[in-house]
């Protein structure tokens, strides 16, 4: 009997090949969307991590000396005192913009970019003149001819070359080191640093730059999108499998009537779902890979804009994505199948013969869904108000989305009921009533559409807000033309003298590591200057804020600190028992996780006489020229000279790329939702013959019925789109005001983009029209005999 049952189930698919394709493609699209986003995310993060660990500059503490630049002999002195340290030389290769990184292969920390020198004679060639250079293939082409022989190494970040420390010094025409890295694990018995040389100072791993912090936001953006695509995908898998159940109720009834036990039928259907999920999931993973491969160059460009071209645009195939893709397909199938099986196990053997009863039961389900949905929304609110962790932030987001989706059927039913009150005449009343009844069978597709649209609104709003806020902030924060970091106090003195003739103003940037209200933070000394007065991005302040800072009794703190410690304008901040200030302003400091404060420069100098300025903000007529001049004179590494215009140009480029990616993903999500709508309508048309046939029999032409059907689809899509906009905005708000604050400690102001919504609304209608076109065409072409059959038998 089981094999006969299996045969019957599969013969159904054999007769309905298109439907089989629909189910599998539905599964595949959902899986593909999810897998694709995951793949992009994983690859981008991996690339970023690779870049961040280049020779471990960011992971390790480093040693500098107060009185002089570092030389090889300092490295040797430290090694001989028992310190496990490694020398590093960094600088810009003159006339190229390529950064030279010189390291010592014997003591450098091993990492992914470490070149392989085990080949015969490699080490010898690497160490002795003329040396050997490792470069990314893209960089190798750009190198001038007079450099040592080049070897290709994919893991070297583009725009950088790796070579031996001594070769790097000769390439850069200098005899000093940039820094001495302190390796992570040190022998217990080693000479205290102060006993090695009192002039040596150790600096903890460099704080990641503001820019790097901001890219974490970009990753969060992608992660959020991954989450959304998961929700949308889950709905689609659920509806695809659910539809396959719905459409075969007659078949199930027949099989049961013929003596197939309920248990056997359920077992068969579960196995069938497993096969479908495997096929759809497999196809989906491939689709996801293709999608990721197509989008990744955009992501790579985005990240390279931030990191200085450090992400390869190629995708490696990770087994984890396959697993996660299949997991998604199986999970969706399991959820869909279990719900349907549960329902089926409770229906009597004859119940499936009564589709109307099923639809009535649907109205009850809608109410039940709405109750669960309301509960989820409430939960989301509670999580938003009382939750503190990032996880709670994401849970708040998930609960809000799921709750809103579950409320969609009841909300639509209520709106349609409301609209139907104004209807006059039998026909219009029938149309409204019929529309209302159609909501439940299409509810899953409508929920998916709503989620897709909400995701679209939410992500666009978030990215848009991010862009306008951040670029505006850059304008304010990087008001000077050029930012230069010198390496030693001696160089700083020489530098100030060197540039004095070429600049309009030169402002020292000087900071000390302090504890701000108990946590590690930094206090900066700033000179009273028009640049700060005109541009500094203050979120709140007292009226005479800059005068107060200039007088020396006022302090400015960053938003992160203010939020964390709940210390705002008017409060007093104690840096030490005898060193306290009134907070006179709070400024936005996107990207920086730590607390930060600004005080008057003279006060700072008096308090921290040992700290001399190494960083300077310059204003000049021709910053690019000045920068080249400075690099040529001092051989500063690229990271030490920041041209404000370039930073801004970079940022804009980054955001354009981000927009391209989010747009592409939005279109895809919407496409998937449209597909679900189409599959849903196709099914509904078949199921609705008993409703349509009497209307036709009363004299309506098939054409006019079709017009009604199309209008109905458009109406439902339009209503769903309208519902999606506030939900999308809620989503964006949670991302910006809750998730971002919990992840990074700063809040992004939300901006609204109504024009985007209008566009999206039109897209939703276009999608609904396309989705409805084929099923309605089928209705028009339906032979009258089919419609008559409704009256001839009981189906």
């Amino acid at each position: 009997m089981i094999s006969a049952g299996a045969h019957a189930l599969w013969s159904y698919w054999a007769r309905h090949r298109l439907q089989l394709v629909v189910v599998i493609i539905g599964l595949a699209l959902a899986t593909g969307l999810w897998t694709g986003v995951q793949a992009i995310n994983a690859e981008a993060r991996a690339s970023y991590d690779r870049a961040a660990t280049t020779l471990g500059q960011t992971q390790f503490s480093h040693i500098t000396r107060n009185d002089a630049p570092l030389r090889i002999k300092d490295f040797v002195v430290l090694r001989r005192a028992g310190w496990l340290v490694s020398p590093l030389v960094q600088g810009t290769l003159r006339g190229t913009g390529i950064e030279v990184v010189g390291f010592d292969p014997f003591t450098a920390p091993i990492n992914t970019t470490f070149p392989d020198l085990s080949g015969d004679g490699d080490l010898s060639k690497f160490l002795s003149s003329p040396g050997m250079i490792f470069a990314h293939p893209d960089t190798a082409d750009l190198l001038p001819e007079n450099v040592p022989p080049v070897r290709i190494l994919e893991t070297v970040p583009p725009d950088q070359i790796l070579t031996d420390v001594t070769i790097a010094m000769s390439l850069l025409k200098r005899d000093t080191l940039s820094s001495i890295l302190v390796l992570g694990v040190q022998p217990e018995r080693r000479l205290p640093l102060v006993d090695v040389n009192a002039e040596y100072i150790i600096t903890e791993p460099a704080q990641r730059s503001d820019m790097a912090r901001l890219t974490d936001s970009f990753h969060l953006n992608l992660t959020a999108f991954g989450l959304l695509s998961f929700a949308v995908g889950l709905f689609i898998v659920y509806s695809a499998i659910g539809l396959a159940f719905e459409q075969r109720r007659v078949l199930f009834r027949t099989l049961r009537a013929l003596g197939l036990s309920r248990c056997s039928l359920m077992y068969l259907l579960a196995s069938e779902a497993l096969v479908l999920a495997t096929l759809g999931g497999g196809l989906g993973v491939v689709l996801g890979y293709i999608m990721a491969a197509a989008l990744l160059p955009g992501v790579a460009a985005t990240l390279s804009g931030l990191y200085g071209a450090s992400v390869s645009g190629s995708l490696s195939l990770n087994p984890f994505w396959w697993l996660i893709g299949f997991g998604m397909a199986y999970f969706g199938a399991a959820v869909a199948v279990s719900g349907n099986l549960w329902q089926m196990s409770r229906l009597s053997i004859l119940a499936p013969a009564m589709p109307r009863a099923w639809l009535v039961a649907g109205a009850i389900t809608a109410r039940l869904q709405a109750i669960v949905g309301s509960f989820l929304i409430l939960l989301s609110l509670l999580l938003g108000i009382f939750g503190e962790s990032l996880i709670a932030g994401f849970a708040c987001l998930a609960a809000m989305l799921l709750g809103a989706a579950l409320l969609v059927p009841l909300a639509l039913m209520s709106i349609v009921s409301l609209l139907s009150r104004s209807s006059r005449g039998v026909i219009s009343q029938w149309i409204w009533a019929d529309t209302r009844q159609q909501i439940q069978p299409m509810s899953l597709a409508l929920m998916a559409l709503m989620l897709a649209l909400a995701a679209n609104v939410g992500v666009s709003t978030m990215v848009g807000s991010f862009r306008s806020t951040f670029t505006g902030w850059l304008d304010q924060r990087l008001a000077s033309d050029l930012y230069i970091t010198t390496r030693t106090s001696a160089e700083a003195v020489a530098f100030q003298e060197f540039v004095s003739a070429d600049v309009e103003s030169i402002l020292p940037i000087v900071s000390a590591d302090v504890r701000l209200a108990g946590s590690p933070g930094q206090v900066f000394g700033i000179k009273d200057h028009e640049i700060y007065r005109a541009h500094w991005p203050l979120l709140e302040s007292v009226p005479d804020v800059w005068d107060r800072v200039a007088q020396g009794d006022g302090i400015l703190v960053n938003e992160q600190f203010a939020r964390r410690e709940q210390l705002w304008t008017g409060n007093t901040l104690k840096l030490a028992a005898d060193f306290q200030f009134e907070i006179v302003g709070v400024y936005s400091d996107y990207g920086n996780p730590a607390g930060q404060a600004f005080i008057n420069y003279e006060i700072f100098e008096k308090r921290y006489p040992d700290i001399t300025p190494l960083r300077f903000a310059l204003n000049a007529d021709n910053p690019s020229y000045l920068r080249d001049k400075i690099v040529a004179e001092f051989g500063l590494p690229r990271d030490n000279t920041i041209n404000q215009q370039e930073v801004k140009a970079f940022s804009m480029q980054v955001f354009e790329q981000t927009f391209l990616i989010t747009n592409a993903l939005n279109v895809l999500t919407l496409g998937v939702a449209g597909f679900a709508l189409w599959a849903s309508l196709t099914t509904v048309v078949g199921m609705r013959l008993p409703q349509v046939a009497p209307v036709w029999a009363l004299g309506f032409t098939r054409k006019s019925i079709s017009v009604i059907e199309m209008s109905r689809s458009l109406l439902l899509a339009a209503l769903t789109a309208v519902l999606a906009i506030p939900i999308g905005l809620g989503l964006a708000w949670i991302l910006l005001a809750i998730v971002n604050v919990r992840a990074f400690g700063w809040r992004l102001p939300m901006e609204l983009f109504p024009w985007d919504w209008a566009q999206l609304f039109i897209w939703a209608l276009v999608g609904a029209t396309l989705a409805a076109a084929m099923p309605i065409r089928k209705l028009i072409k339906l032979p009258p005999s089919e419609l008559l059959k409704v009256f001839a038998n009981e189906r």
């Binding site: 002999k73 090694r79 001989r80 014997f106 003591t107 015969d120 010898s124 002795s128 080693r190």
Partner: protein, 346 residues
Amino acid sequence: MNVKAFFLTLWFVICTSSVVAQGFAGLGQSVDGYALPKPDKVFTFPDDHGAHPDYRIEWWYLTAILNDDDGQNYGVQWTLFRTSLDPDGTSQVWMGNAGITTPAEHFTGERLARGGIGQAGVTTEPFAAWIDDWGMVSKAGVGDPLDTLELTATLPNASYTLDLNANGPMIFHGDNGYSVKSNSGQASHYYSQPFYQVRGTLNLPSGDVEVSGLGWLDREWSSQPLDADQLGWDWFSLHFDSGDRLMGFGLRDANGQSFSYASWITADGNVSPSNDLRITPLRWTNVVDRMVPVDWRLELPSQSLDITTKALNDDSWQSTLFPYWEGPVFATGSHQGRGYLEMTGY
């Protein structure tokens, strides 16, 4: 003699796996331009205590078998390898290996450095060999600089400081320090100071331990150490209760044959070289996923020697860039004694 070092340092310039796969083929040919050991070499000191940069490889190799007041046994190793990357000697690489062995634990340390910047090197007047903060420094006022040494090394979790005083002469192996390593004639310059009395402190994670015992220093350099089909070696340095000493090694080739050599050193420093040493593995054990023979039988008919050696700690594995087994052993049988065993190529 520490033939291992030949391999170890050569591995430095030649890819490890391919060398093993080829049974070290190619080593015999790749000596072009480097100086070669000569049978008629006359040693001059202190110059020959220093580096010979025109030779490809060289080492300063010290092992000490020690015990504390409670009779607990320890072993200590300190080695500085030098490799020349080109025949003109301008590009030198230094490698330090150190080990501390207790019955239950084995500590390993390793350092690498380029030559020419002062991070590692050897000077002769005054004598000092060092890499980073590890040192083998002469404290001798008169006599040979190697007669009194201070030895220090810092391992990741342990360190040691030892004072060494020689109470016997230097020993020249083979033919007056010209030590043949194969039937094809590969050779090295090789001398030892096997008569050290050692005293000092081991700084172990469990606490500091005052120790004393016996030490053995090997000095060796060459450019073309081994025959093409030689796979690895087993090397012994033993101090017998009688005051006599034995240095013996067997070089294993691909056919399971062994080229062996022994220097029998009497308590007053007379050396009898011999080629009738027979070494036989008795017990194998799994160390870091490979089988290694840790107990041996040594027979030297010319000295009526027939002994069994047992390792203090089976797991005396030096997991360095070029890993090998190096640890203290105890001898019983016709002669009682203690010393060091080194095994490579397993």
